[in-house]
Every structure is written in structure tokens, then in C-alpha cells.
């Protein structure tokens, strides 16, 4: 795109139809992700940040529904695409890493098989090439024993290894935009920082545009260039990381920062 | 929403049919137009007509009347067999769950073993040995159908034991057995009721199969099952002899199954609490 923005989200609304009425989980969200940057969305649980991420790839399950808005990726509105075009973008141009590595992999297929699937769905290559690619990216994700992990089933890997495998799977088709939804929340603290190091490394090497979702301001501060603060389905404040951290304008942002400082 | 309404209507019609059958059974002499065992050699195998709405059988007996009286057999066997099964199941499950340890393992092994026998084979074998009588049939069906309830009760008790011992250790002197029973009844009564309702349907199917094969309710006592036995011999000649008794079996069992499922759905959300 001309102005270096890879993702433009405008007025995104995702609502839930429940017995007790309509829950407006995402209620008019605007933000941009610039090419090559890491954009963070921070907020408490229930703020709607995960749903925002899911809405981008239209992965919202009923009773949730994307009600209105636009999600423009490079120059196409993803929300208007037909199923096949969207499928081609998922996993190849835009990839997503989920929060719970334990449940994100299918327990009855090997790690290697699931990564190869991602390759074969988008690249017209031979099986052997796909296998090489899978191994390559498992190595890049710094998994201890890539050959073993390739043949292992998800339950045989530790949490950290599974997350690395997921990252490998997300990157195997060299996407342009990577969405990370709380990628380290479910992991031990030591493993967390290892994964963050890995993400740093990938970010630098690949010059990937990244959307980083987290409830942890510390993690956001470490990883992101620009930040948006979300609360109850709306973005309360957004701007450069330095500005948000040092000179927050909104009360809510202030209280969020205070709670982090209190822990530190 | 729509689905719930439809489901409720189905449950309501199921209940209505069951009540109708209970009325048939209770007031059979008043409802049946003819004596079910009255032989009428002038009207053998007549098709349904105004005089005999379901037709007559090989001995001229009115099929509708026999069906009405047959409801007594099917329903009573169903209820009593299930009653026996539930009692045995509660006893078994309680003992196994409460005592735990070796007694539990042995008893649950026993359940596994019982489940290995094709139930129908077992019932047939026992009836062959003991001779068919309504009483024997009830007991045998009950004695081969308690395993599910036993497992249910045992599972409930095991969950309760976890909770009760935590509480009891704080409230010194509380007798766990009594507390378990007190908490067991409200929790377990739902699933047991569902199991029992579905079990009545199953028992009716088994009884009618036994009677159909000739080792259940013996003629001339009318049972829907043994009427089908005659239906087999008149196949192709008297369709009414086969269609009507079978239809009643189908609808009655269907009604119990629908009711059971409705009960289960009704209890589901409460279980989540």
C-alpha cells in the first residue's frame, strides 16, 4: 500500500447473541498496522481484544457475529471476500498464533503432519519439499530436537515446545502479517521470555508486520512499537509506545499502568 | 427457541400417550368392547370393521380388546422389571461406592462380566431353565438390567465422598455415611429417573420379543408380543394382526424414550450448577 499500512481496521463491530440480550464485545474499533511494525493491543480479559484478532480472519464462532466494519488487508476488505479467497489468505498471507498451545493442535495428528498440511494447502510443492520446509521452520523456531518433534504427537511435547511448533507452523508459508493472541500467557515465566526472545529474533530477521495481543503491559512494552488500549469493546487510547507509557492521556490507561507498576 | 417448543410438544404428547396406556391398563374391563379371551368361531380373521375396529384373530377374538388388556402386561412388566433393576443397582452401586477399595474393584469387575453376556441370551437361558411365567420374566429382566444404575450411583457416591470428607474433617464428628445419603438422593435421583424411564421402554421391548418367540407371556393371556407371534403365522393374510399390536409397542416404547430424553434435557442445565 502506498502509505506503508498493511492492515486497516475501521469501525469493527462483533456482537454476541445471548439469552440475556446482545453483548457488544467489539463495538466500533479502528486501528492501523503499519508495514514492518509490531502493533500491540492491550487490555483486561473481556475487553474484546481476542475477538478483534479473530474477527480479522473471520474466525468468530456463533453465537458471535461480525456485524459491521471493514478490515482492509493491503487493498482488499477481508470481511467482503468469498470463502475461497479468504482461505487462501489464512495461513499464507496472514497467520495466527493462539493462546493455548495444548489445545491448538489436533491430538491425533503428528506435529510434522499438521505443519505439512499448512504448506500443502497453499504451496504447490512435493511432499518432500514440504517436509524440508517444516523441518527448516522447526529449527528456526529453536525447537530442541526438530526431527523428534516432527514425528511426535502434540501431547508428547511440552508447552513451550508446542508454542514453538505453532510459531513454526504460522511462519512456514512466509506470511506478511502475523497475529499473536496472548502467545505466552499459558506458559511458565521462564519459557515466556524464551518465546519472546524467539519472536524478537523473527521480527528482526523477517521484518514481519505483527499484531500482538496481550493483557500484560510488560510484555507489550517489550515487544511493540505502537500500542492501543482496549476496554469494553472500544479502543480507549492509542499511540507510540513511548507516549503511552510515559504520557498516557486517558484515566483508564493510567490505572492499567499503575497496576503493572504495583506488581513490579 | 423453536426447537425447545417442538421438543416440549413431543414430550407432552409422549406423556399423553403414556397416560392413555395407563388408563387402558387400569380400566381395561371398561374400555375393551369384548372379552379378550372370548372365542368367536364365526368371525375368524375378519378385517377391521365397525364391530371390530382392529379386526379379529385366528380364534375370532377382538384384537382391540386384546391390545387394551395387553397394555396391562406390558406396563406392569415394564415397571416392575425396572423397579427391580433400580433397586439392585442402587444397592450394588452404594456398596461399591461407599466401601471402595477391594470390594469396589470386585463388584465393578462383576458388572463388567455381566455386561459381557448378550442380555437376551442370558434372559432366554434363565427362562429356559426356570420356565416362563410373568413373575420370572419380570425378575429376569430386572436382574439383567441393573448395571447402568449401579454405575451411576457408584459415580455419584465417589464424587460425594471427595467432597464430604473434606467437609467432615472440618466438622468433626459428622458421620460421613449419613451425609452421603442425604446428598446422594437429590443428586442421583435425576439420572436414575432418566435411566428408569428409558429402561421401561427397553423392558417392554424385551418382554414383547420373549413373548413373540413363545417364551414370554403364554397364551391365552394377551400380550402385544405374543399377538405378533400369531401375526407371523397369518402374514400376508391378515395384515391387521401384525400392524396394530406392533404399532402399540412402537408408540409406547417411543413415548418412554421421548419422555426419558426430555427428562434428561430438563436435568442438564441443573447439573451444570
Amino acid at each position: 500500500m502506498m502509505d506503508g499500512t498493511i492492515l486497516k481496521v475501521r469501525d469493527l463491530k462483533t456482537h454476541f447473541q445471548t439469552d440475556r440480550g446482545v453483548v457488544k464485545a467489539v463495538d466500533g474499533v479502528d486501528f492501523d498496522v503499519r508495514t514492518g511494525e509490531t502493533f500491540g493491543i492491550v487490555g483486561e480479559s473481556g475487553s474484546g481484544k481476542t475477538l478483534t484478532a479473530l474477527s480479522i480472519l473471520k474466525l468468530v464462532a456463533p453465537p458471535g457475529r461480525i456485524v459491521s466494519g471493514s478490515v482492509v488487508f493491503k487493498s482488499e476488505d477481508l470481511l467482503l471476500l468469498d470463502a475461497e479467497r479468504l482461505r487462501k489468505i489464512r495461513g499464507s498471507k496472514i497467520s495466527m498464533v493462539f493462546q493455548e498451545p495444548a489445545s491448538a493442535f489436533n491430538p491425533v495428528f503428528t506435529i510434522g503432519y499438521q505443519i505439512i498440511e499448512a504448506v500443502m494447502a497453499h504451496q504447490a510443492v512435493k511432499m518432500s519439499k514440504a517436509r524440508d520446509l517444516a523441518m527448516e521452520f522447526l529449527k528456526r523456531a529453536r525447537i530442541a530436537d526438530p526431527a523428534k518433534a516432527y514425528h511426535d504427537y502434540p501431547h508428547q511435547l511440552s508447552g513451550g515446545a508446542k508454542q514453538r511448533a505453532m510459531i513454526a507452523m504460522a511462519l512456514v508459508n512466509s506470511p506478511e502479517l502475523l497475529i499473536l493472541d496472548e502467545p505466552t500467557t499459558a506458559l511458565d515465566v521462564t519459557i515466556q521470555s524464551q518465546i519472546l526472545d524467539l519472536l524478537d529474533e523473527i521480527r528482526e530477521r523477517e521484518r514481519l508486520s505483527t499484531l500482538f495481543i496481550s493483557h500484560d503491559f510488560g510484555v507489550i512494552a517489550r515487544m511493540c512499537d505502537r500500542v492501543a488500549v482496549m476496554r469494553k469493546g472500544l479502543i480507549v487510547e492509542s499511540g507510540d509506545k513511548a507516549q503511552i507509557l510515559n504520557d498516557p492521556k486517558e484515566e483508564y490507561t493510567v490505572s492499567l499502568l499503575e497496576s503493572v507498576k504495583a506488581l513490579a | 427457541m423453536m426447537a425447545e417448543l417442538i421438543r416440549n410438544r413431543m414430550a407432552a404428547s409422549a406423556l399423553a400417550f403414556i397416560i392413555l396406556m395407563l388408563v387402558f391398563a387400569a380400566f381395561a374391563p371398561a374400555i375393551a368392547p369384548y372379552n379378550p379371551t372370548e372365542i368367536d368361531t364365526k368371525n375368524i380373521l375378519t378385517a377391521p370393521s365397525k364391530a371390530h375396529i382392529f379386526g379379529t384373530d385366528t380364534l375370532g377374538r377382538d384384537i382391540f380388546s386384546r391390545i387394551v388388556y395387553g397394555s396391562r402386561i406390558s406396563l406392569s412388566i415394564g415397571f416392575i422389571a425396572v423397579g427391580i433393576a433400580v433397586l439392585i443397582g442402587i444397592f450394588f452401586g452404594s456398596v461399591a461406592g461407599y466401601y471402595g477399595g477391594r470390594i469396589d474393584s470386585i463388584m465393578m469387575r462383576f458388572v463388567d462380566i455381566m455386561l459381557c453376556f448378550p442380555t437376551f441370551f442370558l434372559i432366554l437361558a434363565v427362562i429356559a431353565v426356570l420356565e416362563p411365567s410373568i413373575f420370572n420374566i419380570m425378575v429376569v429382566i430386572g436382574a439383567t438390567g441393573w448395571m447402568g444404575v449401579a454405575r451411576l450411583i457408584r459415580a455419584e457416591i465417589l464424587t460425594l465422598k471427595e467432597r464430604e470428607y473434606v467437609m467432615a474433617s472440618k466438622v468433626m464428628g459428622a458421620r460421613p455415611a449419613w451425609m452421603i445419603v442425604r446428598h446422594l438422593i437429590p443428586n442421583a435421583i435425576g439420572p436414575v429417573l432418566v435411566s428408569a424411564t428409558l429402561g421401561v421402554g427397553g423392558a417392554i421391548l424385551v418382554e414383547s420379543a420373549l413373548s413373540f418367540l413363545g417364551i414370554g407371556v403364554q397364551p391365552p393371556t394377551p400380550s402385544w408380543g405374543n399377538m405378533l407371534m400369531d401375526g407371523k403365522s397369518t402374514l400376508g393374510v391378515a395384515w391387521w394382526h401384525t400392524v396394530f399390536p406392533g404399532l402399540f409397542i412402537l408408540f409406547t416404547v417411543l413415548a418412554y424414550n421421548l419422555l426419558g430424553e426430555a427428562l434428561r434435557d430438563f436435568l442438564e442445565p441443573r447439573l451444570r450448577r
Partner: protein, 331 residues
């Protein structure tokens, strides 16, 4: 894997012993002695002859010795001789088992081939007409007296329409058919029995598959599969279905005794020379050795069926046979 099988086999031994105990118990429920039938109807049989007969069957020994005998004979499949024609029970059963197994296997095949797709469609198109009609069909299947359905279908297809034969497994002029003709003939004879036998199970499996699939479709890994950009058909029929099938395997194993027991009914109705019909005939003629033999064999078949289901399950679900990671293992 082999270790798993071996473990299961060893665990089966107590069950096997239990089966022998229960069948022994059943035979001794009879008031009087099993030999009474042979002797009491014949006044010419003297007291000594009766004693000799009882000695032959070991009925004069104490109960525990009788049980030990029974156990020994059970292990060698020696169930004595039939009262009806004095042939060894095991021989009579061996003649009949293949057909019963054939019908049951075909039945299971039919149940899987129709039941699973029905369940999947009902789950994927939840709430649609297809879903609702599958549910209705399932309920009717649970509630249907199979022998009644058999009578109705016999009447319709056999008598009224004359399309299908209604008894036996071969036509009278079987010997004159070509090989193809023979296969077709047997197939025609088996259509109704297999269909009836499968009916109830079909209802159950379709409903069970539906429930299983609905639970699976909401799992995280299905979302991951979609996020990867897989085709929707792959998401459903590869990722979801493979997981949904696991409980179905267990259910199949549990339905084996029901299928075996049900064979009594439709083998009798369709005059098929199988084990179920033999059982029925033995019951009617109070042929106790055969009754006990078939009861025991039925239980053993169930045991085998469960074992096969278990092995299939452990093969299908890698979490069972392969150990999980220890913390900090492969990083």
C-alpha cells in the same frame, strides 16, 4: 502397542473366569437335575440307570468339583453333547457360527457406512431439516421392535412384492447357479436380515456421531485448522471426524453383545441356520448343554469384540499408547 495388548489380555482373565462362574450358576438354577428331562419322562429307566447317568455328567460330585470340571471343559470348548441329537455341542456351534458372524459383520459395516455420514451431516447442518429428520429417525430406531419391522418388511418385500426371499440363506436350486449367481443368491437372502439387524444400531451410531461431532467442532484445534487456511471439507472430514470417531469405536465395542443377542430373533424369523437360531431351538427343546455352550461362547465373542475395539481405539488415539511429555523434556 504389543505391551498394551498383552496388558489387556491379562486383564481379561478374571473376566473370563467370571463368565465361567456365571454360566455355571445359571445352569444350576434349575430345580431338579439337568438329567431329569432324559430320565423322568421315561418310567422304564431304572434307579441304577439314573445314577449312572448322573455319574456320567458328574452330578454326584460336590459343587466345587463340578465347577472345576466345568472350567476345564470350558477352556477346551467341550460343552458336552446335545440332548437333542447327542452330537458334541462345540461341533454344532462351529457349524453355525460363521453365518452369524458374517451377518453381524455385514451389519456393523452397514451401521458404519450409513450411520456415520448421517451423524456428520446432522452435526454440520445443525438445526436443519436433515438434522431434525435424523433425530426422528434415531428415536424410531431405538423404539422399534426389530421383529415387528422384520415381519412388516417380510410382508412387503417378500410376499406382496416378491422381490426378496424370506427364509434361509440359499434358494432351493442353489447348486445349479454359477459362482456369480451363488453370491447374488446369498446376498439376496441376506439383505433383509442384515438391514433389520442394523436398524437399531444405525439409529444409535448416527445420534452418537452427531453428539460427538458437535462437541469436537467447537474445539480450539478446529479453529487452528481453519486459521491455517485448510479447505472446509478437510477441516470437517479429516480433523473433526477423526477425533469424533474415537468414542464411536468404544460404542461399537459395547454394541457387540446386543448384536449377538439380537441374532436370535431375526435368525428365527428368517430361518437362517446361525448360532442365534440354534440357541432358540435349544431353548425350546430345553437342550441345556447347547444352551450353556452358546451362552458361554456368546460371552467370549463379546470379550473378543471388546478387545478388538480397545485395540482399535488405542491405535487411533495416540494419547493412549504413547507417553506424554515430562515437563522440560523436549524444548
Amino acid at each position: 502397542m504389543l505391551r498394551y495388548i498383552a496388558k489387556r489380555l491379562i486383564g481379561l482373565i478374571p473376566v473370563f473366569l467370571g463368565i465361567t462362574l456365571i454360566s455355571f450358576f445359571v445352569i444350576h438354577l434349575a430345580p431338579g437335575k439337568p438329567t431329569d428331562i432324559q430320565t423322568s419322562l421315561n418310567p422304564k429307566v431304572s434307579y441304577e440307570a439314573r445314577l449312572r447317568l448322573e455319574k456320567l455328567y458328574g452330578l454326584d460330585k460336590p459343587v466345587y468339583v463340578q465347577y472345576a470340571d466345568w472350567l476345564k471343559r470350558f477352556a477346551t470348548f467341550d460343552f458336552g453333547r446335545s440332548y437333542v441329537d447327542d452330537r458334541p455341542v462345540s461341533q454344532k456351534v462351529a457349524e453355525r457360527i460363521p453365518i452369524t458372524i458374517l451377518i453381524n459383520v455385514l451389519s456393523i459395516g452397514l451401521i458404519l457406512a450409513i450411520g456415520i455420514p448421517l451423524g456428520v451431516i446432522a452435526a454440520v447442518k445443525r438445526g436443519s431439516l436433515a438434522d431434525k429428520s435424523t433425530t426422528v429417525f434415531a428415536f424410531i430406531g431405538f423404539s422399534m421392535p426389530e421383529f415387528w419391522l422384520a415381519l412388516l418388511l417380510m410382508s412387503l418385500f417378500g410376499i406382496t412384492l416378491g422381490w426378496l426371499p424370506i427364509s434361509g440363506i440359499k434358494s432351493l436350486d442353489f447348486e445349479y447357479f454359477s459362482l456369480g449367481g451363488k453370491v447374488l443368491d446369498v446376498a439376496k437372502h441376506l439383505i433383509l436380515p442384515v438391514a433389520i439387524s442394523a436398524f437399531g444400531g444405525l439409529a444409535g451410531i448416527s445420534r452418537y456421531t452427531r453428539t460427538s461431532m458437535i462437541g469436537i467442532i467447537h474445539q480450539d484445534y478446529i479453529r487452528t485448522a481453519r486459521a491455517k487456511g485448510l479447505k472446509e471439507s478437510d477441516v470437517i472430514y479429516k480433523h473433526a471426524l477423526k477425533n469424533a470417531m474415537l468414542p464411536v469405536i468404544t460404542i461399537l465395542g459395547l454394541s457387540v453383545p446386543g448384536l449377538i443377542g439380537g441374532s436370535v430373533i431375526f435368525e428365527s424369523i428368517f430361518a437362517i441356520p446361525g448360532m442365534g437360531r440354534l440357541f432358540y431351538e435349544s431353548v425350546m427343546s430345553r437342550d441345556y448343554p447347547t444352551i450353556m455352550g452358546i451362552l458361554s461362547i456368546g460371552a467370549i465373542l463379546t470379550l473378543i469384540g471388546n478387545l478388538i475395539a480397545d485395540i482399535a481405539y488405542s491405535y487411533a488415539d495416540p494419547r493412549i499408547s504413547l507417553p506424554s511429555a515430562r515437563e522440560g523434556a523436549s524444548e
